[in-house]
């Protein structure tokens, strides 16, 4: 019964959606509302206004910086939520953690991982720093660092991995990333602009272009490292085989 109702609901929704798609503007047409309304300004002026060659980065960090602030908060919130659900990690508990599966990973894989992790890290740094001129940016770089942490953790074990990236450092970077974003936003406030203006229009107009560039890079690095650490912490929290104290 319930199943039939759900299937009917889905079928109705599918029909509705297909009906809409049949009536939507043709894809890829330059005369579409999406291509004519807000976009031209971004494409024409992004380079002068935001000093980024990659228009997407310009939008993310400048035109819609508030969304990105929300995004960073979402990551932070996810971490807080996962730790709230699975229980916080006790200081120094993981470092003494013993892998219960008793499977030592293969020497070949270990050597290869040793060999590749530096490359992955450097590549992610490249992604973070070159977000304004090529595809990439803070969060992408962070996710790639997260990937390197994943492979390192699965191969070398949680204890080793968390010795290399201890909780202190993770917590500090996570907090600093979000906080940095807020403070950079407030900096614009102090300079007489609006929140998230990466400049001081009233105080030092001459400083503006270089200030924008530097603050953009700062924010990118913050997002990258913070995001990477959050992903790492979430991974650690999920791998950790520590029974949590449930209280009611």
């Amino acid at each position: 019964m319930k199943r039939t109702v759900s299937l009917l609901f889905i079928a109705a929704l599918a029909a509705l959606l297909l009906y809409v798609v049949a009536n939507m503007p043709p894809m890829g047409d330059p005369a579409n509302p999406t291509a004519t309304h807000v976009i031209p300004r971004y494409l024409e002026n992004a380079e002068e206004e935001t000093h980024t060659e990659n228009v997407i980065t310009g939008i993310i960090l400048n035109y819609r910086g508030y969304d990105t602030m929300g995004e960073v908060t979402v990551i932070f919130c996810a971490l807080a939520a996962v730790l709230a659900v699975l229980g916080r990690e006790r200081r120094g508990a993981i470092e003494g953690f013993v892998d219960r599966s008793e499977v030592v990973s293969s020497t070949i894989v270990r050597t290869m991982v040793r060999f590749m992790v530096p490359f992955i890290l450097l590549f992610s740094l490249y992604t973070i720093f070159h977000g304004e001129s090529s595809p990439g940016g803070g969060f992408q770089g962070g996710a790639i660092i997260g990937g390197s942490m994943i492979v390192f953790t699965t191969i070398f074990g949680l204890a080793e991995s968390s010795r290399r990236v201890p909780q202190r450092i993770r917590a500090a970077l996570e907090g600093a990333a979000v906080m940095g974003f807020f403070l950079v936003g407030a900096l614009g406030l102090l300079g007489g602009g609006e929140f998230l203006t990466y400049a001081w229009p009233k105080v030092a107009p001459g400083l503006q272009p270089s200030l924008v560039v530097w603050l953009t890079i700062l924010v990118e690095v913050g997002i990258g490292l913070g995001g990477a650490m959050v992903l790492t912490s979430i991974l650690f929290a999920m791998i950790r085989e520590e029974e949590i104290a449930t209280a009611s």
């Binding site: 020497t107 070949i108 050597t111 060999f115 490359f119 740094l125 490249y126």
Partner: protein, 184 residues
């Protein structure tokens, strides 16, 4: 005073060793950076130097341990030749596998054989087993100490292993008795 100089010497030597590892890693990293950024502009190089230094400092304990005793300039010089030879082997391997796959009778007689290698250290063994995996009809499925378990598609594939081992030994300058040739 003797012990002091000994300790100092050791310290300096150790530092030098670590520095050499780090330096090697740094050079590799900055080369990779140049490939990535595809430019030789000054500010890119500066940024690259900073990033590479950071990565090298962070991961030297990771990569350095695997690299240090084995990577010498001579090895780096021999590497391209080794690669060429390996690619030739890979092409041969592929033609061989192609012959097997395209044969309607599928003439295979797979087995897992053991092979004891005389190559020392993790890196040469890893290179050896990866080369095995890439060359005719053999896949390394397990490496425990100096004992390799190799899955062979056909019995005659097993014979190729010794030649490959000689090739890897040549690359790392290892003699049959397990001594590492100094300097190359």
């Amino acid at each position: 005073m003797n012990w002091l100089s000994a300790v100092l010497g050791e310290r300096i030597l150790g530092t030098a060793k670590a520095f050499r590892r780090r330096g090697l890693l740094f050079v590799i990293m900055i080369l990779f950076w140049i490939i990535l950024t595809a430019s030789l502009a000054l500010h890119e190089m500066l940024l690259g130097a900073i990033c590479s230094a950071a990565v090298a400092a962070l991961t030297v304990s990771l990569l350095g341990r695997a690299l240090d005793p084995h990577i010498t300039p001579a090895v780096l010089l021999r590497l391209p030749l080794f690669m060429l030879r390996l690619i030739w082997e890979i092409v041969k391997a592929n033609l061989d596998v192609a012959r097997i796959i395209l044969n309607p009778g599928l003439p295979i007689d797979p087995r897992i054989v053991e092979y004891r290698t005389y190559l020392p250290g993790d890196l040469p063994r890893t290179v050896f087993s990866d080369s095995i995996t890439l060359t005719p009809g053999t896949v390394t499925v397990e490496l425990r100490g100096d004992l390799l378990n190799v899955h062979c598609l056909c019995p005659y594939h097993e014979e190729g292993l010794a030649g490959l081992e000689r090739l890897v030994a040549w690359l790392f300058g290892v003699r049959r008795d397990g001594e590492v040739r100094k300097g190359g």
